[in-house]
Symmetry: C2
Subunit: 442 residues, 2 copies
């Protein structure tokens, strides 16, 4: 896939309708042109399956394979449908993923050779399906790729030098916790930890009082690289599979006291919510966008980070929103309140640059590894992707429609991230649900 010529084909044609009627609703996240992949139990409590989202349904891929409706696909792809999770498919590479997409589009098209009556056996209501993590994640890396987030947070901690000297040269990242990645809907237990709000008093151990969300986008790795080998920025997309939404829950008081000198640890690793649907690079092809333009005078990326395309490789224009609903709001029947609207094009570094950087020392990425963007904030007030930024460290609380105020998250608060891509001449595609509700400390 050459980033300069995004892969557009008949699967992106906005005039194509689906024989699944709900996929033709302009408001759906999952038209025929999207077909994100996931993993879960289409029947609650039943066996786990590889799934594709179409309108308000999930399609059981093993089921349609069993009918012979995916007959032309290579046997490696047909076998990968059995899992584990999406990992086996991720390891197959871009050609395999595209072949599967073409087969699914043909099958679900309004002009499908298979009548809806026969297909229905393999379609299950999305709202009752149990969606799990799409991949078994070997390693989870979290970056810090939004310069606006880095500046906003840096200003709170270091008013005179918000941005550290390395920021515009090094795509800053750190390793997160893989075991505590959880699928959308998993309750988030308020973590306890060591905090020291008053530097003159000793620290204490107690439930966090500064629980926060972070609006992020994750990239799942497709084929990996061998230990000791580097991935060039121009080849980085060959190692990318697709994108999801990530809420990197954070306990700011725990993080603040622990993070020097080795970085965030218990302030982050109690839970990270991942959306269950992986939107493939093919679905995203119409929505390519470079990272933020670097103002004149800023350093050019070092050669190993320069894609020669002005940052177009690995960049995507995804609109992102955060919604918050308190217990009181739900009781009063109020809609969730949007607390931020941002976009992935606000990143300073593209995913291709993140992959090239991550492997620049020979570090091996593996199929199913998750690379998250870091909080995606934009330059404006309404574009702050976490409460730490939106409330200026708790100093300017947000007002909710219920009349409540929020400095940080309270028990019962539910946070939902949303993502979508829109461009004239193409069907809108969406990312589905990425939500979690805070439950009291144990």
């Amino acid at each position: 896939m050459t980033p300069a010529a995004p892969f557009l084909d008949e699967t992106h044609d906005p005039s194509r309708a689906s024989l699944v009627e709900s996929a033709d609703d302009p408001a759906t996240d999952f038209p025929l042109q999207n077909l994100p992949l996931g993993w879960g139990r289409p029947v609650p409590g039943g066996p786990e399956r590889m799934l594709a989202a179409i309108g308000s349904f999930v399609l059981d891929l093993a089921g349609v394979r069993g009918e012979g409706w995916l007959g032309d696909l290579p046997s490696s792809v047909l076998g990968a449908i059995d899992g584990p999770r999406l990992n086996a498919l991720m390891s197959c590479g871009a050609e395999a993923r595209r072949a599967l997409r073409r087969a699914l589009v043909a099958l679900l098209d309004a002009a499908s050779p298979v009548p809806i009556g026969r297909l229905r056996k393999h379609l299950f209501a999305a709202d009752t399906a149990e969606l799990l993590l799409p991949a078994s994640v070997g390693d989870y890396t979290d970056f810090y790729a939004s310069v606006f987030h880095a500046e906003n947070v840096g200003r709170l901690f270091r008013p005179d030098s918000p941005l550290l000297p390395n920021y515009k040269f090094v795509p800053i990242g750190y390793h997160g916790r893989a075991s505590s990645l959880v699928p959308s809907g998993t309750p988030i237990v308020r973590p306890s930890g060591q905090v020291r709000p008053d530097p003159a008093a000793p620290p204490s151990f107690r439930p966090t009082e500064r629980l926060d969300y972070e609006l992020e986008v994750g990239l799942f790795i497709g084929p990996g690289n061998r230990l000791g080998d580097r991935v060039a920025v121009g080849q980085a997309e060959e190692h990318a599979f697709g994108l999801c939404l990530v809420n990197d829950w954070s306990a700011r008081d725990i993080q603040q006291w622990e993070y020097q000198p080795l970085g965030p640890f218990l302030g982050k690793n109690f839970a990270t919510t991942v959306s269950p649907w992986v939107v493939t690079l093919e679905a995203l092809a119409p929505f390519r966008a470079p990272a933020v333009e670097r103002p004149a005078g800023e350093p050019a990326p070092l050669p190993y980070l320069d894609d020669g395309l002005g940052g177009l490789a690995g960049g995507f224009d995804v609109r992102l929103d955060v919604y918050l609903a308190s217990s009181a709001m739900r009781e009063q029947g109020l809609e969730p309140a949007r607390t931020a609207r941002s976009g992935l094009a606000n990143l300073y570094w593209t995913f291709s640059q993140l992959i090239a950087h991550h492997t620049s020392n020979g570090c091996n990425l593996q199929p199913g590894d998750l690379l998250a963007s870091g909080t995606v904030s934009g330059p404006d007030d309404g574009e702050r992707g976490c409460l730490l930024e939106a409330t200026a460290g708790g100093r300017t609380p947000l007002k909710l429609p219920s009349g409540e105020h929020r400095r940080f998250l309270e028990d019962g608060d539910e946070v939902a991230l949303a993502g979508g891509c829109e461009r004239k001449g193409f069907r809108r595609i969406g990312f589905g649900d990425c939500r979690g509700r805070v439950v009291p400390a144990r």
Copy 2:
């Protein structure tokens, strides 16, 4: 297992000899009283097996199980011998591990009911066996538990305040990279990366000029804890399986430029060498020791880190050595030079405290997870567990027996860590090999 009464039984009796004669050599790492467990191919290129080390041999556990010689063990333990790796056995808990130990000691004892002639079929020369990583590691966490290391390194970066205010309250740690954990013997490719030795000049991308080793000990997790649950410090050992040696290779120039504000990343994640044998908690039972004594006036551990035993829980007295051999030394037939001698009792925090801290926010540990100590340095000059400390940041090079000097590692240098426990009245036990040789940058 109550830490106050370490589990000592007939398996620790130093007078017991083995029918494997090399196990009775006082210099062996692997007497009958040790029996560390590992995973690999007893026959090069052959099938993978769970193994135990005995003298100069490895025992194929599936083989002796097939003979019915482990007949009394619970079926869960017998099944866990098939793997994957040691993870299934690790999940079985301490009782299972002890039962396996008793069975193996009885089988390999000089008074074994099985004659050596019959046993020989399942014993393979250790020096030709291909040893792999003992566990499939879901998450690898690296701590910073030696106060001497923290002070030595801190002094290089912050001469006026070597120890940060949180050190004596918080067991500082961060998530490392699981995919680049490699077994002893794997060549270490010199990593390249972004460095900025001269803050007045722009950074550049090049092979590291400050490649270092770090002398560490790792703990493999046995049974895990559920997400959201905490492990009390008094119960922490129920979640521990055993110890190994870890060399956390580090590129100091890459690390120095990247590490703020989110901690070490590419300066560390290019490779971490793990010794193939896991020395169980039972083998270590005679060698319990608390962490370093806290001088008067130092803060007591917060209650969630206080084992009520003066730090005895999770502490072990393991003597540790680092050996370095250059290409020239090998060509001249010189023995490797010892560059450091230290000991695990130099830690400020015990492994029980590290487990309690790691789970204090509800973070879930899983069987096979690896928790490393961080560089184990002691108070004296010869006890500095990395070159950064031993050469004061490169200012005072070490002299090798070949007449060469070392500020940091050169291509061809081989680093070997060694670990062992000695106490009057007990057989010495050792940890085996943890080595890696630096090969040129690609």
